[in-house]
Subunit: 344 residues, 2 copies
């Protein structure tokens, strides 16, 4: 299926020097992909090498020198974002010029603008920020919400469960993926009232394979395929996990302090032996998966990690293309109509 | 200072086979310590070897065959706990027979009963569950609340900040320890309204060294000496951290799959080389610190980890003795009176 995506080239910590090579790689990998690139042509053009026409014919550069910075608040982003690269990319989706939008920029602004321009699916109370979590058995769990909605109701959490289920079914080819609710214990009496209400509601939903509460210490253990939480605790859990993994990788990769000659020699000899250690840690390396999707909108919007590498940003583009081709928004809508996930 | 502590011998996953050796070790380590041991004498007596009278004269066994199981809810624990080992230990504190209580049992029941029997300090809205977090630079942060209070107000969070400060000052010999508030971003506009209110309030408290928000990915980085949070997100963050560390230690310690003869030989040779790897991971090993304290009560109550080893349970007893000798409850009361941490 031929596909055009809109890219906010200016988003992310580095901007065009990451996003442009990533975009060109995505075009090379997928011959049915076209891209609209929104950003500053003075920064972009020097980054584009001479390419075969099979590539150049598939991207269009739309110049703007305005962009939303990472410290812009949502209110400000909504009011003063006219003509910024992020807003133009979302407007391209709104107008139908592109099927999806990818940005590595300000998450709150992206969610805020997407809600206004792309709009939530009919019946969805709140779109969610969702990410894929690698687990120690080499598989993945889907986790949502990760920070878009700090206060939630049981209806909102139940809709997260549905959206996560649709994504897990398609992303991992699962039938009846297991859904768990993040809580501070597994007993029915534990947690906030909204969590207990959601637990009660989800137990009655035959459409979902709800398996109960999950605690923070099981997040890496593939205990469930979908982990549902409010955006506040979800964001804290995800960042805690990322911080722990990053710190440990740093600790492990630290060179020995004052190695003796025999330690140096032994280390050289033992290098093949240390490899599995590093490989095992890489299973959980946050660079392996990238960013998050905004789920519950009428069109696909993917948020790349701000510090993503070019390889990781290419993955974010591919994830957006995949979600469009799988018609994820449509499938969520169908699920919503089949179940009883809204009061309307 | 001579000191008598009350021990709930039946608490924890294992019970007397852990708590009794731990108690005897604590008595050996500290000649001014006496213990009241509450539990089932049929299980306890076989575990007590013949000891010198300098030890036997310092513990008293108080028999009960009733105990609170780990899945008992708070309401049930409050109503039907008469004569249980945990309740008897707390009542010993209430009556003044013991200066503090240590239990490895049901956390919710311990907090619920302690609030009724030991009671909060005058002016403290809610006692908190506090723990010490090892950080990658070999130092520690204090974190509270870890699950006792799932819903909080800004007054409650501010009191946590004060209590954590008093503990950090004494535990780590710090002047003006840095206090941070756990949030999903560092900008003022981020997070729940109650978090933003607390941020505003703490900025005006000269008594505290409040440094602003901290995100989950900095928990291991000694970014602050005291990390304040509500019990819901705090519990999720702590368990997420514990789970991540445990999983990674497991991954690293996994033997090579199908090692060849030269890999086996090399591994033997390289063992001294691998040691720093293991040691570096141990810095963050959750076994190194144990359990949590209930802070904000009129007397000291320490909650050992349910799965603590005998060594770790001894540490919990020592922590309780230390808090009594440092007069932590009194110092919190003084801080409360000097600052403006309550509405009364």
């Amino acid at each position: 299926m031929n596909l055009t995506l809109a890219l906010d080239v200016m988003g992310g910590d580095v901007g065009p020097r990451i996003t442009i090579p990533a975009a060109l790689q995505a075009l090379k990998n997928d011959s049915r992909l076209s891209l609209l690139l929104f950003g500053d042509r003075r920064q972009i053009q020097p980054l584009i090498p001479s390419l075969s026409s099979s590539i150049t014919s598939r991207f269009t550069l739309v110049h703007t020198d305005r962009y939303i910075s990472s410290d812009t608040g949502v209110t400000q982003a909504l009011r003063y974002s006219k003509g910024t690269s992020m807003r133009l990319a979302l407007e391209a989706v709104q107008k139908g010029d592109a099927a999806a939008c990818v940005s590595g920029g300000n998450t709150a602004a992206l969610m805020g603008l997407a809600k206004v321009l792309v709009q939530p699916l009919m019946g969805i109370q709140r779109p969610a920020l969702v990410s894929i979590l690698p687990t120690i058995n080499g598989k993945y769990s889907i986790m949502l919400d990760l920070g878009a909605n700090v206060s939630v109701t049981s209806e909102i959490l139940s809709q997260f469960a549905l959206m996560g289920t649709v994504l897990a079914e398609n992303q991992f080819n699962l039938v009846y993926p297991r859904v768990a609710l993040l809580n501070i214990g597994i007993e029915k009496t534990k947690g906030l009232p909204v969590i207990r209400e959601t637990d009660h509601f989800l137990r009655q939903q035959n459409m979902l394979n709800y398996i109960g509460f999950v605690e923070g210490n099981k997040l890496l253990n593939h205990y469930a395929d979908v982990i549902v939480c409010d955006g506040f605790s979800g964001n804290i859990a995800l960042k805690t996990l990322e911080g722990a993994l990053k710190n440990i990788v740093t600790l492990i990769k630290q060179p020995l302090s004052n190695p003796s000659w025999w330690e140096k020699g032994l280390k050289l000899l033992a290098r093949p032996l240390l490899k599995p250690y590093h490989r095992q840690l890489q299973i959980l390396n946050p660079d392996d998966y990238n960013g998050a999707s905004l789920l519950g909108l009428r069109s696909v919007v993917v948020k790349s990690h701000g510090s993503a590498s070019a390889v990781a940003f290419t993955r974010a583009i591919e994830q957006a293309a995949w979600q469009v081709r799988q018609q994820i928004p449509n499938k969520i809508l169908t699920g919503l109509q089949q179940g009883h996930f809204n009061n309307r």
